[in-house]
Symmetry: C2
Subunit: 530 residues, 2 copies
């Protein structure tokens, strides 16, 4: 027994999870973060560092001896914060927001604190059971058909991101189809989305081994506000079927990334149904808005789909990462994704009375994500959550009105939710269309000439808008991103940071105007010298 | 401008990220968790609830109005904690541990607090840069060959779990091979592991579309302590090549789940090399131990592999989830997993001077995981981290000695790290071998008879050990799990909880002995009545 005679505490001066040291350092960190939120507006929103900045500032290797938390936090302040792009800044209007909230954060803390691994029910029953409950709660708030809820023999699961949700459902659909048409027909499977579908879909198709030639990105146009046309889908599918291919999977979107376009879910499901295709509806961003009765119509027709997902970390205060996925037929997921190694065997699983979520997702290990969603739902309640979303939509609408009042600008596509796509009009700004470096090759043909002039105008306009966005972002005062739709470069102004207030929106518009004016003057000066 | 005249604060009584409310509630949560750690020993380790317990206790739907955090935390105490299996309890000896630490927890908090989405460099340069730095730091601690580090043109990435690491590398290998032999040859690809390889490998193969008939789980035996034999691998590969198939990928393991067996990495790489196979080395559990010079030899030969991974959340204090993956050729990952949608285009990416980690993993969105690993490395330092691991190995060794002293028990396989596989010997316990319900079908043939008797003995022994484990776990005093290797049911005793001390190990052994004695008496009584 000599081997037991060592002093554990002398090896590790303090146990790394000593409760009182945990308490002390935990309070320090809470104050650090509260102060960060107090000051977050003061930092440049988009980080201004140069590539490689951090390697120059940090030591080359792990220290041999421990360092106090205070020293580490000082380094966070001096070296990490300057390298952050501040997603929680109220002046962050880029991409789609990744919203934090006190409740979401506390739920994440509690989950990290318990640090249970809920791969199956027995490994922490509460983790599984709370998850089945909160996905039903949220499903009901969204008025998802009962068939998507546990209470209706469907069910939901919390995953990390939409990429995982799409990959899981695609693999389930793939295996279901291959079991019908034969495993060797993998080469024939075709998947469909639009040219506006999130890139996660293409990535999932790649990972799942769908042949790269069989991934369709059906063209959308301004005439449908960049929504996927059911007719286009049908004709694409017919072509594929004629070529001996097998339509497998459609990814429809409620609220695309570039412009928040909404695909006509009902009509698309109707087309897909005739061919036995799996339809997944990706509501990553806009799904959250559908808890408000006035936005629910955007997902009408979802009852015809096989699965639906939204990212609660985007616009639902739940802190990265939390993607909610509902499926009508959990057994399809389970057939593809289940594994039953001996070392995980247990009575509860054998009894078939429990959900083992490891069979609903890519990974085996999983965090207790349900806590943060439960905290958000309870801490804010249905009424406040709706009002929170509405306040962002209202601010976006106000921004849209500001844009409309300035004749130098236009709204590129109609606003659906809390994101405005706009651009400066170079014509209106009096910026010369002619670009000296290019020659008019088709100058003789009338139509050709017009076309080139138009394209050139668009090209020139795109360049100006790109410059405008760069100059806005480099100011550090706000951060916005862009999209290109129908060859038009648009600036995306997404309202949604938790801390955003109308004063930030007004200020952001002022920043846009100032930078537009500066560019206008520069171009006019340049033109006067030409 | 009328639309801007609403009072944001009246819509949401308080902003959901109001810094002072965040501070107040944050401190409450820290105290809640510190108290949880103080009391964690008092809870039954394995949750004692019945399936469906929670739905009966919680309301049917989301509350319409907000509820105070205090009420929610009371529900956590009353309804969630009883449904937890307490992974942070020092009496948790099941599976492999998922270790927390104050530093890991604080890093997780800070990451959740900043809540940045570092899909590419520009979205938060510090997130990407710190990650490239800490994976190099840890890689050097492991004495990974320079070719796996950024400083040697390889590189590392932090993912969630080993499932993701295997899937990513498998997809990279798959696409690399298909680009050589033609995309239509997917059906021919074969992947190899042993019957001890983690089930994540089979799952990854399924997801990546490898034909189910082409996933090899090569048999291991007790003679090699359940390590994969290079000869067996070679002969399996030769058979496949003769059948016109193409060897693609080998998953070797340092520290298997069932028994912590170590595959001979160098010899396996040598076999694989001749066929151009990708070799991934999965050190999910035992990889961490290799920061100690005395354990480093277990991964000798890794220089011949293409990729290596370990789970820092398992035995490296880093809180779920954090899988470190290193690859020699990041471009293989990037070729398979990169996507470049217009809405993510930016100058830094175009300059090719930066890492965009979205192209190194399955998902696009990603958390700032590097913070917690950086906190752990700095807060404890190389010396303490080694001592931490050594203390667990020492305790496991002590447990092994205790088992060896009791003649009723045997060690099933030699211990490599901090996990002991043991069982009670039914013979030694005097438990009747004869099982009345079964007849001796091969009673006439001498050899047959012996074999059946042996199998029956094993079967009876397995049953007794299963009962013993169930009775131990139902006591709530400790939690262990099992494995079946070479038809033997073994109880796995994994030392590794952060809070574990020698007194817990000694107590666990007493619990085992008590329950074994009780079962022995029960069986003897039963036998005396037969």
């Amino acid at each position: 027994m000599a081997s037991l005679n060592f002093d554990h505490s002398s090896i590790f001066n303090n146990n790394p999870l000593d409760p009182e040291e945990f308490r002390r350092q935990g309070h320090v960190m809470i104050d650090f973060l509260a102060d960060y939120y107090l000051n977050v507006e003061k930092y440049p929103v988009l980080s201004q560092v140069e590539p490689g900045y951090l390697r120059q500032r940090l030591p080359e290797s792990t220290p041999y001896n421990p360092e106090p938390m205070e020293t580490i936090l000082q380094d966070v302040q001096e070296h990490i914060i300057p390298g952050l792009t501040h997603w929680q800044s109220p002046n962050f209007f880029a991409y789609f927001q990744c919203t934090s909230s006190t409740a979401g954060f506390l739920g994440e803390m509690l989950s990290a604190g318990f640090n249970v691994v809920g791969f199956n029910w027995i490994a922490s029953p509460a983790a599984t059971e709370l998850e089945t409950i909160v996905v039903d709660w949220l499903g009901e708030m969204l008025e998802l058909p009962k068939s998507f809820l546990f209470s209706g023999n469907g069910g939901g699961v919390l995953q990390g991101t939409t990429c995982e949700a799409i990959l899981c459902t695609l693999v389930a659909a793939r295996d279901q189809m291959l079991s019908k048409i034969g495993r060797d027909n993998m080469r024939k499977l075709v998947v469909y989305g639009s040219d506006q579908t999130h890139i996660a879909f293409q990535k999932a198709a790649k990972i799942a081994g769908i042949h790269p030639n069989n991934v369709r990105a059906i063209k959308t146009t301004k005439s449908t506000s960049f929504a996927l046309s059911p007719d286009f889908l049908q004709s694409e599918m017919c072509k594929d079927i004629e070529a001996g291919l097998v339509p497998l999977f459609l990814c429809a979107t409620v609220g695309t990334t570039s412009t928040t376009a909404v695909d006509p879910v009902g009509a698309l499901c109707h087309v897909a149904k005739d061919y036995g295709m799996w339809v997944h509806v990706d509501g990553a961003y806009a799904g959250s808005a559908c808890i408000c009765p006035e936005f629910r119509h955007f997902m009408d027709g979802v009852e015809g789909a096989n699965s639906f997902s939204l990212n609660a970390h985007k616009w639902f205060l739940t802190t990265l990462d939390c993607c909610c996925l509902w499926v009508k037929d959990p057994s399809a997921l389970i057939k593809s994704l289940s594994t039953n190694p001996e070392y995980l065997r247990n009575k509860a699983t054998d009894s078939r009375q429990v959900v083992d979520y490891k069979d609903w997702q890519i990974t085996l290990s999983r965090k207790f994500r349900a806590l943060k969603l439960w905290f958000v739902l309870r801490s804010y309640g249905v009424a406040n959550l709706r009002n929170f979303l509405r306040s962002h939509v209202k601010m976006a609408k106000a921004f849209e009105e500001l844009v409309a009042m300035d004749r130098r600008f236009e709204i590129v596509v109609p606003r659906n939710f809390a994101m405005v796509c706009f651009r400066v009009l170079t014509k209106a700004m009096g910026i010369a269309m002619r670009k000296p470096k290019q020659s008019h090759q088709n100058g003789n043909a009338e139509n050709g000439h017009y076309k080139v002039a138009e394209e050139e105008e668009e090209g020139s306009s795109n360049e100006v808008n790109q410059k405008l966005l760069e100059s806005i972002n480099m100011s550090g005062r706000v951060f916005m991103t862009h999209a290109v739709v129908g060859n038009v470069y648009a600036i995306r102004f997404a309202v949604g940071a938790t801390l955003v207030e109308e004063r930030h929106v007004i200020m952001a518009w002022k920043v846009v105007q100032e930078h537009a004016t500066a560019i206008l003057i520069k171009h006019q000066l340049k033109a006067s010298f030409e």
